[in-house]
Symmetry: C2
Subunit: 200 residues, 2 copies
């Protein structure tokens, strides 16, 4: 069995959302599994001295336009959220808590969080909304609520962010295939060829 693909993303990243709608099927066509790894771009940006793209002159307005065009190009439903970007600690912590208990549920939760934010306009920065999305999928709301306030889960997400940075992650989405990094949903054609032909 070939090594699993690692998929790093922030729940507030539109290009990460687009990748999330494609990467599992693409990997499956090539006999690969995918490990989903939510991280906090804010922590990454502090490390490399970057700022959220929407705040950059010229580039910010372009990217907001490119996100909507790229959604149409890829055929993925998308509505620009009222607040963007937002904090995604609660969503990412909830993901890791679910993942330790029920992997398929964690995957469904990740899809549901992305669609709640980028299609339905829900405020995924609010812990209450994160708990609502999880319980709609059948998760134990009270247990998750208690875990979200605890130190263990905070430490887990901190460790995941540091591990991602140590591996070279500087943006969302970043996909690793056998330690080869691909940054951005626009690398899908290169990812496809890498999986089909091996290195090129």
């Amino acid at each position: 069995m070939a090594q699993a693909i690692d998929f790093y993303f922030d729940f507030s990243s539109p290009y990460g959302y687009f990748m999330s709608e494609r990467i599992d099927a693409l990997a499956e066509r090539h006999g690969r599994k995918v490990r989903w790894r939510p991280v906090l771009l804010g922590v990454v940006y502090q490390t490399i001295g970057s700022v959220p793209t929407p705040s950059i002159p010229l580039k910010g307005p372009y990217v907001l336009h490119d996100i909507e065009r790229s959604a149409r190009f890829l055929g993925i439903p998308y509505r620009a959220p009222a607040a963007f970007p937002v904090a995604t600690q609660a969503a990412a912590r909830a993901y890791y808590w679910l993942h330790e208990r029920d992997c398929p549920l964690a995957r469904r939760f990740a899809h549901a969080i992305y669609r709640a934010y980028f299609v339905d306009g829900r405020d995924i920065s609010a812990p209450g909304e994160v708990l609502a999305v999880a319980s709609e999928l059948g998760a134990d709301r009270d247990a998750l609520a208690e875990a979200l306030g605890g130190e263990a889960l905070k430490a887990r997400l901190r460790d995941e962010c540091q591990a991602a940075i140590a591996r070279g992650v500087f943006g969302s989405p970043t996909v690793f295939i056998d330690d080869e990094a691909f940054w951005g949903v626009d690398r899908l054609p290169q990812i496809e060829r890498w999986l089909a032909d091996g290195r090129f």
Copy 2:
């Protein structure tokens, strides 16, 4: 006749070089001409408060690797230059001087400068090398040398950079089709569809 496509680039930009090897044939398949517009990314970066990508932690090393992989993916000859990025004032000024006298020669010169830098490892930041490339193509070396030292040509390039920034250019390559901006050689698939189908 459909409106010409505008192609903004810096002669020190590898992704701009890749686009230069594709944009004319792509435009021609859709009945369009291309206006080539060299600019100075350094001036653009001063305006938006950015720095050259190779100097950014994590992102810099990734991008240097991505450039070589993207060249192989696109099937374009590429060898990483010893010095990168380099100043491209002389090359850009020479382009505009040639363009006022002989448009096809200016296009051949732009290709030759890009290939001199990204294939043959020549130092295109040196005015002497720029003059050599131009005279190899049949340009009047002495007249160009005199123009390169003059205020008129400096002002012309300054104006081109300001016009590009005013239009929203923040990186290389940027392609405009009917005022729709596409940044990056990885937007070639979107450019192709835009030309084929009109807006999408």
